[in-house]
């Protein structure tokens, strides 16, 4: 699969490396060269430095051919903007964005963007561990 990943923080870089190792075709976009370097030499996908929602940057990343776009930055507005551009302008078939502030989830759903909510997931996992440990 061809996947464009936006945001090369902890989540973005870890996932990029994992997916790339699993044999997927990955392009990572981030505005910080420093963060892109964290991918290391083992990463055999493409990394592009630039403003994440800029059409030129996204085109360079090959968005027109992408099967998936994952917007994983730690800025909700940035994720929403990237997702909207991918959805409305480039018609990417599948888009998933990361929710940072749980109360912003309503904005994503209002604009029809699929999300994953790490905070919610982690708190759920911790809760079930705690409760599982009780027995």
């Amino acid at each position: 699969m061809f996947i464009v990943i936006v945001g090369c923080g902890k989540l973005g870089s870890t996932l990029s490396k994992d997916l790339s190792d699993a044999g997927h075709n990955i392009t990572v976009i981030d505005r910080s060269a420093e963060r892109l370097e964290s991918l290391g030499s083992g990463f055999n996908g493409l990394s592009i430095k630039g403003v994440e929602y800029d059409s030129g940057v996204l085109r360079e990343a090959g968005i027109t051919q992408a099967d998936y776009l994952l917007s994983l930055t730690n800025d909700d507005n940035l994720n929403i903007t990237v997702s909207l551009v991918a959805k409305e302008i480039f018609k990417v078939p599948r888009i998933i964005a990361r929710v940072n502030e749980p109360e912003k989830k309503s904005v994503y759903s209002l604009l029809g963007i699929d999300t994953i909510n790490p905070t919610e997931l982690i708190s759920y996992i911790i809760k079930s561990k705690l409760e599982g440990g009780k027995k």
Binding site: Y53, I80, T81, V85, E88, K104, V107, L110, L111
Partner: protein, 228 residues
């Protein structure tokens, strides 16, 4: 008329002041508590300290019965999200976004945010206008260049000097709107004669503008020579 301004920077602050002076009912939403406090000391209006891209904050600001929303923060993605929420969530017909980076104008347009003001472009154009010593220059741009107002100065070398409007050969996509003569407007008819010292205002579009400029390349020779 109820309006909401999001972003209390220089643009938001001055907009708030102007709208207040005109008697509008305005609410300001600003993230930074310190900025909120400063503005509250000076202007007596509703100020909400919060994130303007948060739906509950917008509801507190009265988005449910707002007529106009102006998103004027310093971040383009924030302004875009605010306008999207206003349009899709609250069906507000008039939302205006400030664009900081002119590169993003196309993106706003493709995503259906039609009312935008690009502060950087406006300032750059104003400076360019001052630099431009040509006899033919752009005064105002409407709807991102689909319509522009061009000003033509009539000096001794102008090819139109002494001609009647009905005799002028003009490109298809342009019309003479008015002539400024001795500080008053002349409403142009076919029998209006173009005199020395007139300032002609023309409405045209970006693609026709080079043609008009070319028209005056020779006609404006005395001026052009001075430039070099």
């Amino acid at each position: 008329m109820k309006s909401i301004i999001i972003g209390g920077g220089k643009i938001g602050y001055n907009l708030l002041k102007t709208l207040k002076e005109r008697g509008y009912n305005v609410t300001l939403v600003e993230k930074d508590a310190e900025t909120c406090r400063k503005i509250a000391e000076e202007i007596n209006t509703d100020i909400i300290c919060g994130d303007g891209t948060d739906i509950s904050v917008l509801k507190d600001a009265g988005i449910l019965n707002a007529d106009i929303i102006a998103a004027v923060t310093g971040k383009d993605e924030e302004n875009l999200v605010i306008c999207q929420i206003a349009k899709k969530g609250f069906d507000i017909s008039k939302s205006i976004a400030r664009i900081n980076n002119p590169k993003n104008i196309g993106m706003f347009r493709s995503l259906g945010v039609d009312q935008t003001v690009c502060s950087t472009e406006v300032i750059a154009n104003l400076i360019e206008y001052e630099f431009d010593r040509d006899i033919c220059k752009i005064v105002q741009t409407f709807d991102r260049g689909s319509m522009i107002l061009v000003e033509i100065t009539v000096n001794e070398g102008n090819r139109w000097l002494g001609h009647y409007v009905k005799d002028l050969v003009l490109p298809a996509d342009c019309v003479i709107a008015s002539i400024l003569r001795a500080d008053s407007a002349v409403f142009v008819r076919g029998d209006t004669q173009i005199l020395l010292g007139d300032t002609i205002h023309m409405i045209t579009n970006r693609s026709t503008f080079p043609e008009i400029k070319k028209l005056f390349h020779n006609g404006g020779m005395p001026y052009a020579r001075q430039k070099k």
